[in-house]
């Protein structure tokens, strides 16, 4: 043992500084899927969280942090943390005791399930929680409540990548390679990812490759900070990813830049692809995507000629009505050129949520059981029933996906437990979602702050912040990591897993939830995942600590995990061959029209995380980016006579919003861009399209049709 395999050039040879009267908690950031290592400074005398100290020796980030990471600890001591349970009385949320709250919840669950059946109570959970909590949510839904209706917010985030990877290479690990491999690529093709702002700690790896002379190709409708330093920026019209990939494939095939030997021995489906992309000539693709012929050809040549290379993508590719097609088509670029299974060759998706990877592996996804098992697979059901000590027939089947679940509220779902998510900010058609939540007979929410969604709940339970609990997370690379916390629960707060176990006890299901620590839960998770694709059986807390993280699969106690997948070029199908799949360009679900002539795309800024429930409360981050804005190209702005700083009303067929105009040449002329971290009248998701990807059920956040009107109204006055 040892952690030689995890050695990474980003590590730095310094010890952290420990100040007098303080101790350091060596843990990881609570925000994105990079899961950067950090030390939290804690005052020994009263256990207050006072600061952050770099964790120079951690392999992924070597102590480096983005502004969210530096400021993350500041949420722990915020005055507006929830410190007691709240119960709605006469329309208002009032402080209550745990007993009152739990009694009410239990009676409501029993009422609703007695009247309408088990499935009438649903759980909507989240992926910023530890593996232990995510696992527990799935188990609690199936055998605590006995409901089939559990899904989670990763549905909005990672689900297209998941389906795409599964259908192409047979396994859904966010990256086939450890991040330290990126440096050894000769070309990096990054699509639909503003890496610099959304995963800043990936940049040293990208620069590491650049310093070796690697070429960078960026596919993005905006000239982001990532695109700014690219060799070729393919500035596509939003929603044309399938076409641009077909164009690149066309050129590589025409110019014989493919790896025929790899294709023959390790893939199926190439001939169909070859036939289909024939018509995607550079000039045809240029018409669809708006990218010049020259750039398409240049990018294809750079990618095709490189020996090693990686294709990396994110929500810009995935949050579309054809998101899974796009994912598989970008994977095709690596498959036809044989860029797989080596240092510097592979595919990856940038995981958005802290535990976006682990959160989708262990059973809080409605169609899954722990270890990436399918809930419809009789063998999987049998095995998990054995682990849980129940009859196979007691485990419900698949229920509704996240957005479908929201639409069913008040109809087939009468009661809802919301955990670690803020769907009234993060879902499309915000106004409708508010209506769905109000239609519920009973709505209980667990959160550390009173989020926009929690404000609508009948009962709110105060949970702890991330640095007050222990557990594991699985990062963008598929590396399982140990997070540690301060031993405290301020006020009446309780840890999420504790609340769930207590609830199970009160529901008479306590014998299945006898856990005294996160490690207890993890040890059961290990067994539950054993033999599954995401096999954690060989991972222990001790090993995680010793090795600074373990890559799954890790099937035995002797195993040290698998940082790089497919080194034997056997893909995860019975015949060992990767599937080359061919796709026609269909474009977005909603096309621009005379009434709605402009494309709207949404995304993140570096200062905020998801619905902003945490980052908007941290003063420094809020000050750096207090409000959303609309980015408009100068020539589009001119058409509407809009100047920088003026107020613009942006409307789609579903709603409208008023925003300050930021006139900038970084965005295309046929689109506008708005960041999505705000709620209520500032939520851009009033406008976004709820059209779901048929396979992954991800809503099409990244494209919808809008119109612009200059207005003199003060922002925030007339909200839609």
């Amino acid at each position: 043992m040892g952690h030689i395999q995890n050695k990474d050039y980003s590590q730095r040879d310094f010890d952290p500084i420990v100040r007098d009267g303080e101790e350091l908690i060596s843990t990881h950031c609570c925000f994105c899927g990079m899961q950067c290592g950090m030390n939290i400074r804690v005052k020994i005398a009263d256990q207050t969280v006072v600061g952050v100290e770099p964790r120079y020796d951690f392999p992924m980030n070597g102590g480096r942090l983005c502004p969210k990471g530096v400021a993350a600890y500041r949420q722990a001591e915020l005055g507006d943390r929830l410190k007691t349970p709240l119960i709605r009385k006469n329309g208002k949320l009032e402080p209550a005791t745990w007993d009152e709250a739990m009694d009410l919840i239990v009676s409501k669950i029993q009422d609703i399930q007695g009247k309408y059946g088990k499935d009438a109570f649903g759980i909507y959970s989240g992926s910023s929680m530890t593996n232990e909590k995510c696992y527990l949510m799935g188990k609690f839904a199936r055998i605590g409540l006995g409901t089939k209706n559990i899904d989670y917010n990763g549905r909005y985030c990672m689900s297209s990548a998941s389906v795409g990877f599964n259908q192409s290479i047979g396994i859904d690990r966010g990256s086939t390679n450890p991040w330290s491999d990126i440096k050894f690529a000769d070309v990096l093709l990054i699509a639909g990812s503003n890496t610099a702002e959304c995963h800043p700690l990936s940049m040293p790896y990208i620069w590491g490759a650049r310093d070796r002379g690697a070429k960078l190709i960026v596919v993005d409708p905006r000239q982001t900070k990532t695109a700014l330093v690219a060799d070729v920026h393919l500035d596509i019209r939003p929603g044309t990813d399938v076409a641009i990939a077909n164009g690149l494939l066309h050129v590589m095939i025409e110019e014989n830049l493919v790896d025929q030997e790899f294709i023959d021995n390790h893939t199926t489906g190439y001939e169909e692809l070859k036939e289909l992309v024939k018509k995607y000539t550079p000039s045809h693709v240029s018409e669809i995507t708006g990218v010049s012929v020259d750039k398409i050809v240049t990018a294809a040549r750079i990618f095709g000629q490189a020996k090693n290379g990686m294709t990396m993508f994110a929500r810009g590719v995935e949050q579309h009505a054809t998101g899974t097609d796009s994912v598989s088509n970008y994977v095709n670029l690596c498959l036809v050129t044989g860029k797989m299974g080596r240092k510097g060759s592979g595919v990856a998706t940038f995981t958005g949520q802290g535990n976006g990877q682990g959160g989708r592996e262990h059973g809080q996804k409605t169609d899954q059981l722990p270890g990436f098992r399918k809930i419809t697979d009789p063998k999987a059901r049998e095995y998990i029933a054995g682990v849980w000590g129940v009859e196979e027939s007691e485990i419900p089947g698949p229920g509704l996906s996240a957005f479908e679940m929201l639409q069913a509220l008040g109809k087939e779902i009468k009661g809802l437990l919301l955990v670690c998510s803020n769907p009234i900010v993060s879902s499309p058609t915000v106004k409708d979602v508010g209506g769905y939540l109000k239609d519920l007979d009973f709505f209980v929410c667990m959160d550390m702050f009173l989020s926009e969604s929690a404000e609508l709940a009948d009962v709110v339970l105060p949970s702890t912040v991330w640095v007050e609990d222990n557990g594991t997370m699985t990062n963008v690379e598929g590396r399982v990591l140990r997070v540690k916390g301060v031993d405290r629960t301020p006020g009446e707060t309780k840890r999420d897993w504790k609340i769930i176990c207590e609830l199970a006890e009160r529901l008479g299901r306590g014998k299945y939830f006898q856990f005294n620590s996160p490690e207890d839960i993890f040890n059961e998770l290990r067994v539950a995942s054993k033999g599954g694709i995401a096999d954690y059986y060989g991972i222990t807390y001790e090993k995680l600590e010793k090795m600074q993280g373990v890559f799954w699969p890790c099937p035995t106690e002797e195993s040290e995990g698998m940082p790089r997948l497919f080194e034997d070029l056997r893909f995860n199908f019975p015949d060992g061959k990767a599937r080359i799949l061919a796709f026609e360009h269909k474009g977005p679900n909603e096309k621009t029209s005379k009434e709605y002539p402009v494309i709207l795309s949404t995304g993140r800024v570096v200062f905020h995380y998801l619905s902003g429930n945490q980052t908007r409360r941290i003063e420094t981050l809020r000050n750096f980016c207090p409000d959303p804005y609309v980015e408009i190209h100068p020539s589009l702005a001119k058409k509407y006579n809009i100047s920088n700083g003026e107020t613009v009303k942006v409307s789609s067929p579903r709603g409208s919003i008023e925003l300050v105009a930021k006139i900038t040449k970084i965005t295309r002329e046929d689109m506008v861009f708005v960041p999505y971290h705000w709620g209520k009248e500032l939520a851009i998701n009033h406008l976004t399209n709820p059209a779901l990807e048929p396979k992954s059920k991800i809503p099409e956040f990244k494209v919808c049709a809008v119109k612009l009107e200059k207005t003199s109204a003060v922002v925030g006055e007339n909200h839609g």
């Binding site: 500084i17 770099p54 102590g63 310093d211 900070k225 330093v229 060799d231 006139i663 970084i666």
Partner: protein, 189 residues
């Protein structure tokens, strides 16, 4: 060997982790001494960080009427001494880079001291510790000045007065355009 701050403008993503990180150094009283500027807003997203340039002959210290600004043995230009500073702002007017700030309530100047609390213990300053893109690095002075990986600048001409700084700036590579920043599009072979 003396170490200095090296700043590679091309890598800056404008995230201001350095600005917040600066607040986290024990000697900084939660007051940031770092600046991040947008270079040409509306045209590009390019940004750049500016810490103290740590002039070899610092105008701030020379202009201080009470000698509150000391220079450490390694050449680091320190923040004003709490006991001596009278908050007169001479230094803010004298500095050609606009670095010293004055806390009007405390009547105190504060500026980057390269995290003296950390560097004196052999650790990098906070900005160089946290910078997520390696835009800001803490490197050997001789090496970065005289054997740099790309063009650098550390002498600045202010209307005939040349000022040498210990902080070194990495310049965009406009000759080979190896890392973007070019006229027009396409790849430079």
């Amino acid at each position: 060997m003396a170490k200095v701050l090296y700043i590679d403008y091309e890598r800056c993503i404008g995230c201001k982790a350095c600005v917040i990180g600066c607040e986290e150094c024990s000697g900084h009283d939660h007051l940031s001494r770092m600046f991040v500027d947008e270079l040409n807003p509306g045209e590009t997203v390019a940004t750049s960080p500016t810490p103290c340039m740590h002039c070899v002959t610092p105008a701030c210290a020379e202009s201080c009427p009470v000698q509150a600004i000391a220079i450490a043995d390694d050449g680091t230009v320190l923040s004003a001494s709490l006991e001596k500073c009278i908050g007169c702002k001479n230094c803010t007017y004298a500095c050609p880079f606009g670095i010293p700030r004055v806390d009007d309530v405390k009547k105190m100047m504060y500026k980057c001291d390269m995290c003296y609390d950390r560097t004196s213990k052999g650790r990098p300053p906070m900005c160089a510790s946290v910078c997520p893109t390696d835009t800001i690095r803490f490197v050997d002075e001789e090496e970065i000045k005289y054997d740099p990986p790309k063009p650098v600048q550390f002498k600045w001409d202010f209307g005939g007065t040349v000022i040498e700084t210990r902080t070194v700036i990495g310049l965009p590579d406009t000759e080979t355009h190896r890392f973007g920043y070019r006229e027009g599009e396409g790849v430079q072979e």
